[in-house]
Subunit: 196 residues, 2 copies
DNA sequence: GGAAAGAAATAAGGTAGTTTAAGAACGTAT
DNA sequence: ATACGTTCTTAAACTACCTTATTTCTTTCC
């Protein structure tokens, strides 16, 4: 289980800002590489949410568990994505979400106070995360719109079109919990499609 | 219909960053003040989404209209909030959302290219909007979680508790469209509550 | 390679939320 | 004050989606 190299995360950053060698070194020095086996957790509900995570390889899933034990998948993160329980990360609170590796994954972790330090030492990163969070906001807003205005089948179609890599790697139970329906109902939707 | 003064928006900015006089002047120079009468639009679906808007006073509502004509309220914005169709603003596309003044409102508008100019002239604003978008992302993520895991009645209770000022100013039809239910069903929920 | 566990399909009965329609209450303009 | 449009309420019939249960298919692992 070897540790990931920071090449991919640096490319991710370079897509929006240009750091010099010193800044790059500083940034990398705060990253904690970690390899997570399939089905293991990088965060559990109730534990302090310490990290924001960059996915170097693999697939992670963040989900909420309600009082009755039902899971709602909040997001899937594949290679080149950032994932955390933002609310609890920012406020350094016990997490509402559990984050699990859907398959063996390598990630880089960044701690809240290290992130604050980085903002001061490398102010360009304000721009970088401004863009990251701006995009994240847009994604969530689109998801809210779709949740309010579309049927389960329409949401499923959009999911298939938008996240084909994810579809191959996760179970239908997990897709159903992302769409806000039961696995049985998703199975029915798929059955109906096959007949057409 | 007098134009708003930028005192409130400067306070809003000062909550997260400190600008000197020159920076403040530069920032203010890009703001377009506007007063919108009740029931008028600052943006219509299909028109290029030019502006991000700060609410100086009043209440605005952003909504999506589907093919069947049904409206879904994406957000309400009261005094001291920012509102736009983020996806279309960022990509400078025709808007998906319509933004309407629920009551007479005064706003400040900031154009996309002016915002980009500001990021270069006053880099601190990267930090400011990083925090604004971070918070916006958190809000939308919480809304997704609630949409997936809670019943209509539970979502209504949370709305009442979280946005009491909004509740007083908008119709139940609008609240229902924010919650993702019909006004008739919301009326029934309220009826049931009254009996308890 | 076979047993056990987990994932998906199918189907019957149930419920949360919708649709349609009609009447009551409210606001606002003449 | 009266009238008109809009918002809110109520209720009955309907539908999208859920629950529970059974069967089949797939994966995992000793």
């Amino acid at each position: 289980m070897n540790k990931p190299l920071p090449d991919l995360i640096l490319k991710n950053v370079a897509r929006h800002i240009t750091m010099n060698q010193e800044e790059t070194a500083c940034f990398v020095s705060f990253l904690k590489p970690l390899t997570v086996p399939k089905k293991e957790f990088i965060q559990k509900e109730g534990q302090l949410c310490r990290y924001i995570n960059f996915v170097h390889s693999g697939t992670l899933r963040a989900y909420y568990t309600d009082k009755t034990g039902r899971e709602s998948t909040i997001m899937f993160a594949v290679t080149d994505w950032w994932i955390t329980d933002m609310f609890c990360f920012i406020n350094q609170q016990p997490a509402m979400l559990t984050i699990e590796a859907v398959e063996e994954s390598s990630i880089f972790q960044l701690q809240k106070n290290d992130m604050e330090t980085l903002y001061l030492k490398v102010p360009k990163l304000e721009r970088f995360f401004r863009i990251i969070f701006q995009n994240a906001y847009v994604r969530e807003q689109l998801r809210v719109i779709q949740g309010l205005s579309l049927s389960a089948e329409e949401r499923y179609d959009i999911f298939l079109a938008k996240y084909p890599q994810v579809v191959r790697q996760v179970t239908q139970k997990q897709i159903a919990s992302y769409l806000g329906i039961t696995p049985e109902f998703l199975s029915m939707i798929r059955g109906n499609k096959r007949k057409k």
